[in-house]
């Protein structure tokens, strides 16, 4: 039977999608009732029963932990630098000419993002009932980001010779950030034991992400190597790590690392946990990269070698870039899991976002405010992880250099 093409009215679409048969209609009605009652219940609770003071009063604790008050200007400075650098990178990324896409200074997505950003900078401090001064600072940061975005988009394409410096921007900023947070170079030191909350969560996650990536690539290459010792060493490491729950490895880091190193050399508890996270994720990243290496036709390496490239050159310029493109979704998936896994630091007594939250709820003044705190944390993690996932998908389409012609 050939379907007769008909104008697909909205009503017809609703009928086909939701009420195709009697059973479908029943399912739709039952689900609608359930969803509506759940939404009403949650809305009623959030507006009339929940006491959000626990979040408003402790917002600094949640973000920074016990970071000394008189040193917090350093974190403001760091946030300003980050906002400027994000704006610059964003603008330069947009200014880059792309095949098949009309380069427009402000695509629709960007305008939506700017509006969201400004709304967030206005509404979030208001919701948290922060002082007017902090209110103003957040607004200034948002404006700085947008200005940097505008300036980079306006003048970025003209100054081609500055382009290589952009790649250096983020590593330099990261090192500078570590100095600003931890002290040194004339700044008074703030020991890692005093970093906490969101700061510690983001710091340990970003540290582990940055370091587990090269480690993972090396392990993946080792596992595919023709040298038996290298191969078996990598296999042993990867399978050992993947066979153990993260919590037992963190437990190992806290309780055994002190015995493995000469007295006094063992790093601080925070750093131990960050290194365990790094070594843990490296094994999983290695498996993702290995899948990318397996997917690459062997002819690529052979062609590179027969062109006269040495093995390291062939790997760096031909094999690894292509393998990473295939491995990207799995790798970002692993980074998302890594961000979530930082919550396990709270189980070994560190004050990451979840650890701080649990100490706040142990305070008699906020007893029984579990639902409010856990919901806010869940929302925060959800937004971060979903954003990472979205970014990964955007990057995937951008890097897609399969030889199908781009849509004009």
């Amino acid at each position: 039977m050939v379907p007769i093409p008909q104008p697909d009215s909205a009503w017809r679409r609703v009928r086909r999608q939701l009420f195709a048969s009697r059973l479908d209609g029943l399912i739709t009605v039952v689900l609608l009732v359930l969803l509506l009652s759940a939404a009403l219940g949650i809305g009623h609770w959030a507006l009339s029963q929940a006491q959000w003071a626990v979040i408003q009063v402790n917002s600094t604790l949640f973000t920074l932990g016990r970071y000394p008050l008189e040193q917090q200007w350093r974190l403001w400075l760091l946030t300003a630098l980050l906002a400027g650098a994000s704006g610059l990178s964003w603008g330069l990324l947009r200014a880059e000419p792309r095949a098949g896409v009309n380069a427009r200074p402000w695509p629709r997505n960007d305008r939506i993002a700017v509006l969201l950003l400004l709304a967030l900078a206005l509404l979030l401090p208001a919701a948290l009932q922060l002082t007017a001064l902090i209110h103003l600072r957040w607004l200034a940061l948002a404006v700085l980001l947008v200005l940097a975005r505008w300036a980079a988009g306006r003048w970025g394409p003209l100054r081609g010779r500055w382009r290589p410096l952009v790649g250096l921007l983020w590593p330099v900023l990261y090192l500078l950030g570590m100095v600003l947070i931890g002290g040194g170079l004339g700044l008074s030191p703030v020991p890692p034991g005093e970093w906490g909350g969101l700061l510690l969560t983001l710091l340990s996650a970003s540290f582990a992400m940055l370091l587990c990536f090269p480690l993972g690539v090396l392990l993946a290459l080792g596992r595919r190597s023709a040298l038996p010792l290298l191969r078996w060493g990598s296999v042993l490491y990867i399978e050992f790590i993947r066979g153990a729950p993260l919590i037992t490895l963190l437990f190992l880091g806290q309780n055994i690392l002190g015995f493995l190193l000469p007295g006094g050399l063992a790093p601080d508890r925070v750093w131990r946990a960050a290194w365990v996270l790094t070594f843990f994720s490296a094994a999983y990243v290695a498996e993702a990269v290995r899948a990318g290496l397996v997917a690459l036709p062997p002819g690529q390496l052979e062609a590179a070698r027969s062109l006269g490239l040495a093995m390291p050159q062939a790997l760096v310029h031909v094999v690894i870039p292509q393998a990473l493109r295939v491995a990207l979704p799995a790798m970002v998936g692993q980074f998302i899991i890594l961000l979530q896994d930082t919550t396990l630091l709270s189980l070994i007594g560190l004050l990451d976002l979840l650890g701080i939250a649990r100490t706040v709820m142990a305070n008699p003044a906020f007893l029984g405010r579990n639902a409010e705190v856990y919901l806010v944390l869940a929302l925060l993690f959800w937004c971060c992880c979903a954003a990472l996932g979205l970014g990964s998908r955007a990057l995937e389409t951008r890097l897609n250099t399969s030889h199908t012609p781009a849509k004009a």
Binding site: A244, P245, L246, I247, T248, F251, G263, L344, S346
Partner: protein
């Protein structure tokens, strides 16, 4: 005869036949030095602390209690028995979790192919919601916000054959006596166990749903069309034609998810459920035997992982066998 041919002489360090051995030799030396350094420190430090590797302490009385043991256990029994009880508790939650997560995941994964748009959206929303929130946070939520908030005594939620109270979940018949629920026949589940099991099932279910969805999507559309044109109902099409073929793709993916569930069960301590990890933590605090306890922990989880892999490999062979 190489020596007879004129031309530049290749120095030995650039000899193609020698380089692999040089690299491996250097690697072996580095590894040996690192391992010797670490083990030397370990032995020195442990000797200084009087904790040199020994398994004698496993026979000493534990002195702690294990909540809801499946094996009979009391504080007078030795440490090894305590650890075994913890292991059995872990196995209990892992086994039930595997069954529950598979059911939920299969439902949610097949719902992604429903003809009902709302059901499809709901399945998608479930996966996206759960995968982007840390498991530990979810476990704490289920325990503190859902199960510990259950009313006690006469206010408890009573359903036919099921009573939900803060003192536990009663499956079967239970009666109220002096404001406390007493089980008459059936099963009582503590809220700790219920929270852990719910959290693990809901979390792993989302990942399994993705595996199942991928497996079903891998079945060629012609198979659906052929089944429908033979007059099979949607449920028959799914159950008899599509799922058996999808299983070939699904089973290897399930293996990974099952192992990850078994490892995740070590977060039981967040819900106050006593599993292997929490017994091991208590044991370490009492004896200070860090190395032995970590070895036992790692070994146990490795054995569980290998068991799951062995079973799933068997299942995989069964599923693949039907291919002609």
């Amino acid at each position: 005869m190489r020596s007879a041919s004129p031309g530049p002489v290749i120095p030995w360090w650039r000899d193609r036949r020698l380089i692999p051995w040089l690299v491996q030799g250097a690697l072996a030396v580095v590894l040996l030095v690192v391992v010797a350094f670490l083990v030397g420190n370990l032995v020195r430090n442990l000797t200084a602390a009087g904790l040199l590797l020994s398994w004698q302490w496993l026979g000493q009385p534990a002195g702690f209690d294990v909540a809801e043991p499946l094996l009979p256990f009391d504080a007078g029994m030795p440490y090894w028995r305590g650890l075994l009880t913890g292991l059995v508790n872990t196995l209990r939650v892992v086994l039930l979790g595997l069954v529950g997560a598979t059911l939920l995941g299969t439902l949610a994964g097949s719902a992604a192919f429903s003809s009902n748009a709302l059901l499809r959206a709901l399945a998608r929303g479930y996966v996206e919601l759960i995968r982007n929130i840390p498991l530990l946070l979810q476990l704490l939520f289920w325990y503190f916000v859902v199960f510990l908030a259950l009313p006690n005594g006469a206010q408890a939620i009573q359903l036919p054959g099921l009573v939900l109270a803060k003192s536990g979940l009663y499956l079967g018949r239970a009666a109220l006596a002096d404001g406390v629920w007493q089980l008459q026949s059936g099963l009582r589940i503590t809220v700790e166990f219920a929270a852990l099991l719910t959290g693990l099932v809901v979390f792993s279910g989302a990942f399994i749903a993705e595996v199942v969805r991928g497996g079903i999507a891998a079945v060629p559309a012609g198979q659906w069309e052929a089944a429908r044109s033979l007059g099979l109902a949607p449920a028959q099409t799914m159950g008899r034609i599509v799922l058996p073929q999808a299983l070939r793709v699904i089973v290897p993916g399930l293996n990974n998810q099952y192992i990850s569930l078994a490892k995740s069960s070590s977060l039981a301590v967040a819900c106050g459920y006593t599993d292997l990890y929490s017994v091991a933590e208590t044991t370490l605090n009492q004896t200070g035997r860090a190395v032995e306890v970590v070895l036992i922990l790692l070994g146990s989880y490795l054995v569980i992982d290998l068991l799951i892999s062995a079973v799933m490999n068997g299942v995989n062979r069964l599923v693949q066998l039907q291919e002609r």
